[in-house]
């Protein structure tokens, strides 16, 4: 790193000589500021561009980047968008962005209000910047867990009753929050009012697993780590594509039926994932077919659609594999104890029930919703290994767990 910064500083100083009209530095400044500004120099030679994400975009200028968050919550209109101007430190702020929050990059101390940012920070070597989160209970990243245990990280809560005083006292350079579109849950309005530099990063609004994982690039923007973000994400995307290729040629007859119902469907209403949901995309890419997947009710929506239990019972009785998305269940026996009618399902009889709680912590925090979000290639590999064990014989399940009989 030191060598890189030295090199960068050297290059910048070369760029300042009047003869070097076309000189460009090789790297972004990930650790340092510009010491003498030259308007003709491109200070961000390393750039990112979203390929799958639809919720954000960036435009690069010589010494600043303009970042737009287009969908701070599901169904957001143009007027709800947020704009951030990321200015290379040591260079002048641009004019004409009165409504945008100006943030100096590379940024510094960070408070993350969602666990989904943590794996990106880890991948990008930015965990040292983390000084606090909303809660330490639900995070799975071992380093962050250890730092919470040691009392090195703040817990600030979230929503309108977020601990503003603690945040102001900690003086973060950046707070990453997600928007919900509901004043009951949104944290950013309170923080904006308090003058905290908060960025709304609603990665969960993305329409595809790769789109959400690509928010690694978005976070990298704030620390000039574009090069690393590209490297990390493109490797994952390539791995995802390779896995998809394994199952692409499967005929319908070769695709097992997967009953996938949403987190604890209680009694009557069973939530079946819509055709645009992550679950549906994963099952498709893993070479499976969702039970009720062709139902008109679930087409063109990412939301779960409630079906009557008897409908699901009739349609899913013979499903090869069941992903019940449940919690507090260790064995198939526990599972059937919830409702004795579960025992009728072929997947239960054949021991083909899988739950995504292999990496759930004692408080109910689930790494499937943390590192799983940043690593869709691992989730997909899990699913292919479950649906088509012959295609990935070596793979050991990461997030999913076969429910044992006892």
């Amino acid at each position: 790193m030191k060598f890189r910064s030295l090199l960068a500083a050297l290059i910048v100083s070369i760029a300042l000589t009047p003869f070097a009209l076309f000189s460009v530095s090789a790297d972004n400044l990930t650790e340092s500021c510009v010491e003498s500004f030259d308007a003709t120099v491109d200070y961000f030679p390393e750039k990112v561009e979203p390929r799958f994400s639809e919720g954000w975009r960036v435009s690069y200028h010589n010494n600043y980047k303009v970042v737009d968050v287009l969908t701070p919550f599901p169904g957001a209109a143009d007027i709800d968008a947020f704009q951030y101007v990321l200015v290379q430190c040591g260079t002048p702020a641009p004019e004409g962005f009165d409504d945008a929050l100006m943030i100096e990059v590379p940024s510094g101390a960070l408070i993350a209000l969602s666990t989904t940012y943590v794996p990106h920070l880890d991948d990008l070597g930015l965990l040292d910047n983390l000084i606090g989160m909303d809660s330490g209970l639900y995070v799975s990243n071992p380093e962050v867990v250890a730092r919470f245990a040691a009392g090195d990280l703040l817990e600030v809560g979230s929503g309108p009753s977020v601990n503003v005083e603690a945040i102001l006292d900690a003086e973060p350079a950046l707070v990453l929050a997600f928007g919900s579109g509901s004043p009951d849950y949104d944290t950013h309005p309170t923080l904006i009012e308090a003058g905290v530099p908060v960025v709304v990063a609603s990665d969960y609004v993305e329409g595809s697993p790769l789109g959400q994982a690509e928010w690694a690039k978005f976070i990298a923007l704030f620390y000039n780590r574009e090069a690393l973000a590209n490297e990390v994400f493109e490797a994952k995307a390539a791995s995802y594509a390779d896995l998809t290729a394994l199952t692409a040629a499967l005929s319908d007859a070769e695709r097992p039926a997967v009953l996938w119902n949403g987190y604890l469907s209680y009694a009557d209403a069973w939530f079946i994932p819509g055709s645009d949901s992550f679950a549906a995309q994963y099952v498709r890419d893993a070479g499976g077919m969702l039970v009720l997947g062709d139902a008109p009710e679930i087409q063109d929506t990412a939301a779960g659609v409630p079906f009557a239990f008897e409908t699901v019972y009739e349609a899913g009785l013979d499903a090869d594999i069941w992903m019940p998305g449940t919690f507090g269940v260790t064995t198939l026996m526990d599972f059937v104890a919830q409702d004795e009618r579960y025992a009728d399902f072929a997947a239960v009889t054949n021991g083909q029930v899988y739950n995504f709680d292999a990496r759930e912590n004692a408080n109910g925090g689930n790494d499937y919703f943390e590192s799983g979000v940043a690593n869709p290639q691992l989730v997909l590999a899990d699913l292919i290994a479950i649906l088509h064990p012959d295609l990935l014989p070596e793979h050991e399940l990461v997030y999913f767990r076969n429910l044992p009989k006892e």
Binding site: D268, A308, F309, G364
Partner: protein, 366 residues
């Protein structure tokens, strides 16, 4: 004695109507029972899955429908569900009637003493607080494996009921008791919202789903627990018709008639508490029915006499619950609506109409 007194409290000037209404009663009961049977039949034959009537009849009469899944759907889904709806509706309705009489308050329902909040707290603890340890805690009671959410709700409801009983035995004043019940409800509700506040969204959704209410969660395996509690509660309530009629005339008057107030009050609370606790535990917090069905029953029969209104409320409650569940199943579609939304959305106009037509409401509570 007391019954005639209660009847005499019907609106002045309607004595003739009242007598006519009296003559109508057996017919009205017969009609209601016929409608109830029709509703049960309808509920068994309509559902999200289209099953031909002949298959339904065959399944019900011990034969095999043309598909195994259909036999199961009729016998193990629809039958326990309609039975649950009938029992839950009857329990909530009769419970509401008794609470309204006990507190002389037309807005009272079976949950007025904080029982449903207690059940919510139990469920919230299991679903929200700490998934696995929460279940482990229940396993200590030997219940988790079998019932899970239902067990948690029962324990929560039971604890609150115990507390109410303890307080009820010390407080003579029923208005004070009403306030204590409300306060308990608020306090326990606050604990639930604290839990909600510190929970992860996926679990909050699960808790919200429970809050929508459902009659479909009771399986045959659970029926031997659910049905006896509800039926026992109903029987206990049925024995209270006479002292309840006396209570309608005021506590001091009832006391002068030889009603042992303390004992009756305790019996009411135990009976209603058992029923409300069981229903909340197994079906979720079903709102509205407990307030509305008693009013509907009173206005249909034009009397406040509990020898009439208890069986009337029982049938009307069962009927409303089955009807609400039928609508919630949105026959013809494969989706379902949240039960609690249906009960209020379709039930409220019915009750308003009934109350507009019957002007005896005030008289029942004055």
């Amino acid at each position: 004695m007391s019954a005639s007194a209660a009847v005499s409290r019907e609106p002045r000037g309607s004595a003739v109507n009242g007598r006519r209404a009296l003559a109508r009663r057996p017919l009205l009961f017969a009609c209601l029972i016929a409608v109830l049977i029709a509703a049960i039949a309808l509920s068994l034959s309509l559902g999200s899955v289209d099953i031909p009537l002949s298959d339904i009849v065959r399944a019900l009469t011990g034969g095999e429908a043309s598909r195994d899944a259909w036999t199961n759907i009729v016998l193990r889904f629809r039958l326990p569900k309609v039975l649950t709806a009938a029992l839950a509706g009857a329990a909530l309705s009769v419970g509401g009637l008794l609470m309204q009489t006990l507190f002389r308050n037309p807005l009272a329902d079976p949950f007025v003493l904080g029982i449903s909040s207690g059940a919510s707290l139990g469920v919230a603890l299991v679903i929200l607080a700490i998934g696995a340890p929460g279940v482990a805690l229940l396993a200590g009671f030997g219940l988790a494996g079998d019932l899970g959410i239902a067990a948690a709700a029962s324990i929560g409801a039971g604890l609150v009921m115990l507390l109410v009983l303890l307080i009820a035995s010390r407080i003579r004043d029923r208005v004070a008791l009403l306030i204590v019940g409300l306060m308990l409800g608020y306090a326990v509700g606050a604990l639930v919202s604290l839990l909600l506040f510190f929970s992860i969204p996926e679990r909050i959704q699960a808790f919200i789903n429970w809050g929508f209410g459902s009659f479909g969660g009771v399986t045959w395996g659970q029926m031997p627990i659910f049905a006896p509690i509800v039926i026992g509660g109903l029987l206990l309530c049925a024995t209270l018709a006479k002292p309840l009629n006396a209570l309608l005339l005021g506590e001091s008057y009832a006391a002068s008639l030889g009603v042992r107030l303390g004992r009756v009050r305790l019996a009411i609370i135990v009976g209603v508490g058992l029923m409300a606790g069981a229903v909340t535990a197994f079906c979720g917090p079903i709102g509205f029915l407990g307030i509305a069905a008693p009013h509907l029953a009173r206005s249909l029969f034009g009397t406040s006499d509990h020898r009439i209104t208890i069986p009337a409320a029982l049938i009307v409650g069962a009927l409303l619950a089955i009807a609400a569940d039928l609508i919630a199943q949105a026959p013809g579609s494969r989706t379902v609506l949240p039960l609690n939304a249906v009960t209020a959305l379709f039930g409220a106009p019915v009750v308003i109409l009934a109350i507009l037509r019957w002007r005896g409401l005030r008289a029942s509570f004055e």
